[in-house]
Structures are given as C-alpha cells and as structure tokens.
C-alpha cells in the first residue's frame, strides 16, 4: 500500500545527523588525521625501499590513504561540518615519531610492523565499528575504507611471516620493542578517558563521553582494536600467551 504522505529519507537522515554532527565531526577528524599520517608514513617508506616494485607499492598506498582522507572530508561536508586534521597532535605525533625512527634506521620490516600490524589494526577495527552505526553514506564510507585497509594488512602479512620464519626470536623481540613504543601511545589514545589533557584533534572537548549518543563507546573501540591487533599477531605466529601478556600490560 502506498503511504499517504511521502517520506523523504534523506531529510530524516539530515535531521538525525544534525544533532550528532559535532560527534561525527570529531570522529572524522581523528580518522582523517590517521589517514594523512599513514600517507606520510608510506611516502617516507618509499624513500628507503630499494626494490622499484616496493617503491611503487608504497607510493600507491600513500595515494590510497590520501584518497581515504579526502573521502572523510567529503563525508563531513555532506553533514555540514568542516573536518580538520592535526598530524602534529600529541598522540599522533608520537606515533609518527616511532615510525620515523624505523625510517631513520632504514628498517623496512619495522615500518611494516608499526604501520600494518599496529596502526592498521586500530584503523580496521575502529572503522568497522563506526561503519556499523554511522548513518547513510557516512557508515558506508567507513565500512568500505575498513575493508580496503584490511587488504593492506593481508599484503604485509606475507612479507612479515617470511621474515619471522628466518629468525622467530629476533622478529618477536622487534615486535615487542615496537609494541612498547607504539601500542602504549595507541592505548592512551583509546583509553576511556584522556588522562593527558586535550588530544588536540577534537574540535572542542573530548568526543569520547559523547560516543554513547551515536551507539558507540570508547571502551568498544578500544576492545575491538586490541582484538584485531591480537588476531593480527596470531596470524604472524607470535605465541598467543606472550601477546596476551603484552596487551594486558598496556595502560588503561
């Protein structure tokens, strides 16, 4: 039966988004910052690769990440918010510094571990959760980008597994050293409350307490991210009892 009054779906979506737009603005700002940082990381990686195929690969990934950042900015415009970014914000800068230390050492494997195992686990898990609850094209964009990021991880896994097969002990020690550096920072970012003051990405106060209003929570994003990280470490073959201890020792 035809409705007596036509229902304009996009009008309803806009109404619902208008109340939550400031929350999505901050969620998008964090995601966009992460994507731009990843683009910078891949560009830097291309400069230490010897194999032309690896150089091309890294540059292609950098371009892809810039595309993701642009897609998030476009989603912001659709809901009437300006999505800013700040790759120099304190947590993001620390993550960037950790990656650049690997670059300085021309440590290709270390770069892959930081970017693909740690940062991408966080991106895939959190984008997937956001993709499930965000309305309309916003949700679809997050879900689609999560799927693309997951492909990155698959690509890197083959290289990392081959590396681990050469010397498992040495490889696991390297992952642990990088874990202490990178995952400690990510854990602070993912903590239920920001204990070190403003993150320098959210446009006003911290977005975390408001996430409940869009059916998300900081605890859920952290849980999903750590779960994805543990599963990625499992795929590398690192003993689960060790990675469990690593994760339980992170700050909360």
């Amino acid at each position: 039966m035809k409705p007596l009054i036509g229902v304009n779906h996009s009008a309803m979506e806009c109404t619902s988004l208008s109340t939550s737009a400031p929350i999505w603005q901050d969620v998008l700002a964090q995601a966009m910052t992460g994507e731009l940082l990843a683009a910078m990381n891949y560009t830097a990686l291309s400069e230490i690769c010897d194999d032309p195929a690896e150089v091309a690969d890294a540059l292609e990934h950098a371009e892809g990440e810039r595309g993701h950042a642009a897609a998030f900015a476009a989603e912001g415009r659709k809901i009437g918010v300006d999505v800013t970014n700040n790759v120099d914000a304190k947590h993001w800068k620390r993550l960037r510094d950790a990656f650049m230390r690997c670059i300085a050492e021309r440590d290709f494997i270390g770069c892959l571990i930081v970017q693909e195992v740690m940062l991408e686990s966080f991106a895939v898990a959190s984008y997937s959760r956001v993709g499930k609850v965000a309305p309309g094209s916003l949700g679809k964009t997050f879900a689609a980008i999560a799927a693309e990021e997951e492909e990155h991880i698959d690509h890197a896994m083959a290289i990392l597994r081959t590396e681990r097969a050469l010397d498992a002990q040495r490889f696991d020690d390297k992952v642990y050293r990088l874990h202490l550096d990178v995952m400690t920072t990510l854990a602070k970012m993912l903590a239920k409350e920001c204990k070190d003051g403003h993150c320098e990405v959210c446009h006003t106060s911290c977005v975390k307490p408001s996430l409940f209003d869009v059916s998300l929570s900081a605890a859920e994003l952290r849980g999903a991210s750590l779960q994805q990280y543990l599963k990625t470490l499992d795929m590398l073959g690192i003993p689960g009892e060790e990675t469990l201890a690593w994760v339980t020792q992170l700050p909360v």
Binding site: A168, R222, G223, A224, L230, D234, I238, P239, E241, L244
Partner: protein, 378 residues
C-alpha cells in the same frame, strides 16, 4: 608412557604440546587475578570496570604452559587455553556466542599441535552434545573429560558416606541433572549400589530412556521432571546440573542429606537454607606427581584450598597424556559406563592422580584436614 615431550626451543618457537586444557574463569574476581598475574607485580591491577570492558574482546588463546608429572616418572607438557567466556555470560542466552568461543579455543589447540584436548567447565557442557561443531582436526583428539569427573564424584560419594557412617546400600540417591553426560554416568555407577534411585531432569524422553536402561538391569529407579517432587526424599544427592536457583533444591532438602555439588560452576553453599545437610564439591582430583604453571598461576587457575587440585574433566586429558594414550576417551552424551570409569580411574591412579580432599565453600569437610594456604572465592 608419555615421555614424549621435546625440549623447549625458547620463546617464540614451536614447543611440542602433549595436551591442552580449555577453560574459562568462573567469576570476575578469578578473571581479575589472572589478568593481575599477566600484568605483573610492578603494575597496578586493572580496575574492575576495565576488566569487564576488556575481557570480552580477548580472543581465545593460551594463558600459560602446564607441566604435569607422574609418580612413575612420566612427564607431559601442555597449554592452558582460555576461551575468555565472560563470567556473567554462562546462561543459555549466550550459548551460540560461547560455542563460538570454545571453537576458537579448540582451533588454537589444534594450531598449537596439542595431541589431546580436555574441555573444562562450561566448555565441556557446551560441546558434549555438539562435537560436530568443533573445527576440523587432524592429529588432535578431544575429550570432554566427563568420565574421570564421574569417577571422582562417585569416589567422593563413597568417601563421604564412609566419613558420615552412612550405609550407601540403604540410601536413597537423588541425581539432579540425571540425563546429562555426568549425571547419567553417575546414575549407571551408583544406582546398583543404593536402595532407591531418583532421577530428575528437564527432558522427560531422555529420563524415560535412562530409566528403562537401568530398570532393564533390575535397578529400582524413579523419574521426575519436577525437582520439588523428589527433593525431600534423597539422602544422598548429586547436583549434576548447574541450577539457576540452587535454593529451589536446598530449601526442601532432607535435613541430613549428603549433597555433592557436581555442577558447574559450583554454587551450592552450606550456608544457604541447608539445615544440617553436608555439602561437598565433587568431581575434583589431586595431582601428586607434580604440577607446574609457567608463568606461575598456582592458586589462580586452580582456586582450591588444597595444592594441585584440578577438575576431573581437565585431569582426564592430563592422565591420558601421561599414559601416552591420545584418544577421545569421553565424547558425546550418555555413553559413560562403569567399566569406562574404572578404566580411566586406573590410568589416573597409575600416575598419582587421586580423589582430592573433600571440601566445600567453607573449607575442608574432613576432620583433621587443613588448607595449605588461605584461599579466596571469586
């Protein structure tokens, strides 16, 4: 014999695994203790709210290595794998989620190369009727461990009767949860020894089948789906079902009944409307040939008032590993016989695995026994 352990190659390398034990924590307190050990003494323990937020996201995985020794010199090496079922998700509403977690733990055990896997606690209950839901396996066998659990329940009943000066042949036995794998095994072992056996369970068809089987052997058996009908009549009671509301039974129990809490988790307390009934925890065994956890989870993973006490379901896999018998000793539901119970008891005893000292939520029930260490219930 089970001297099949290869040397440990070091951290990050493959270690030969004879057995795996799949379990989970019964309470948030127990989960907090496990995470505290993993965090190490130099870090502050995680607050309760953080534990409740984090634990449900942890994928099934090994928590520690377990070395078990036999009194005849055999050794076996294993893993304790936690399915990380949240302690407040043990109800039927979470059954599909929990089966998925046990499947994940089983897959982990297979990948680790475990030759035999024991399903502990709720894992056993979930899988005993769903073995086909375990992942495809090649050189790994699974056992619910229920046969040795039945053996220790039966031994405990006999010991408690002796301690209390009861003649078991003059007793009326009530089994709550009689059609489950453990309950029906207890019925087959104990019905021939008692004057009268009362079987209680929710599924009347299964009850009728079990009663017919026992009656065919000339045993005096009665059945009921309504617990209230029998609860005041049993003077030896086995609670083999994890009652959602134990007080349903305990409020009407015969005043001097001997009550074996054989359910999971153990939740019958002598303080709850029990009058003079004697409650003890059943199905537990003690390793006398040596048990070592790495890292050290003694008293954390086995939270009992006596050393090296472990649930019978887990001990079955350890005993079979020490024996070098990597076979699915207990599978499915309702196939535990007295002969199989005697067989696994013999294997366990050969390696120094015996009935644990009897205790309940208040501590030891045998005079003259003292807890080795102060223990806490989660």
């Amino acid at each position: 014999m089970g001297n099949s352990v290869a040397g440990i190659a070091g951290r990050g390398r493959t270690i030969e695994v004879d057995f795996a034990l799949i379990g989970h924590q019964e309470s948030w307190g127990a989960a907090a203790d496990v995470l505290a050990v993993l965090r190490g003494p130099e870090r502050t323990p995680l607050p309760d709210d953080e534990i409740r937020d984090i634990l449900p996201w942890i994928p099934p995985r090994a928590v520690c290595h377990v070395d078990v020794g036999s009194i005849v010199g055999a050794k076996a090496r294993g893993l304790y794998i936690d399915s990380f079922i949240p302690p407040d998700h043990l109800e039927a509403a979470y059954v599909h989620e929990n089966i998925a977690r046990v499947r994940g733990a089983a897959a982990y055990a297979i990948k680790a190369g475990a030759k035999i896997v024991s399903l502990g606690g709720f894992s056993s209950i979930l899988i005993e009727g769903n073995f086909d839901q375990l992942p495809e396996r090649h050189d790994t066998v699974f056992t619910t461990g229920n046969t040795l659990t039945v053996g220790f329940i039966v031994q405990g009943i006999k010991k408690m009767c002796a301690l209390e000066g009861r003649n078991i042949s003059k007793s009326t036995l009530l089994i709550v949860g009689a059609t489950g794998d453990v309950g029906s095994g207890c019925a087959r072992c104990l019905a021939p020894l008692v004057k009268r056996a009362l079987l209680c369970a929710r599924n009347v068809e299964r009850l009728r089948r079990l009663a017919a089987e026992l009656q065919a052997d000339g045993l005096p058996v009665e059945i009921a789906t309504d617990l209230q009908r029998f609860s005041a009549e049993g003077d030896v009671v086995i609670c083999a079902a994890s009652l959602a509301s134990p007080s349903l039974l305990l409020g009407r129990i015969a005043p001097h009944a001997l009550v074996c809490d054989a359910g999971y988790p153990k939740n019958l307390s002598p303080r709850t409307e029990m009058l003079d009934a004697k409650v003890f925890f059943g199905g537990l065994g003690q390793i006398t040939g040596g048990l070592r956890f790495a890292p050290d989870f003694h008293g954390i993973l086995n939270r009992h008032p006596f050393p090296d006490v472990v649930h019978g379901c887990l001990l079955e896999g350890m005993a079979l590993a020490l024996e070098g018998r990597f076979e699915p000793f207990s599978q499915g539901r309702g196939s535990i016989t007295q002969e199989r119970v005697e067989e696994i008891e013999t294997i366990a005893a050969r390696h120094g695995i015996y009935l644990a000292p009897l205790y309940n939520a208040d501590g030891p029930v045998e005079d003259g026994l003292h807890c080795q260490t102060e223990w806490s219930r989660g």
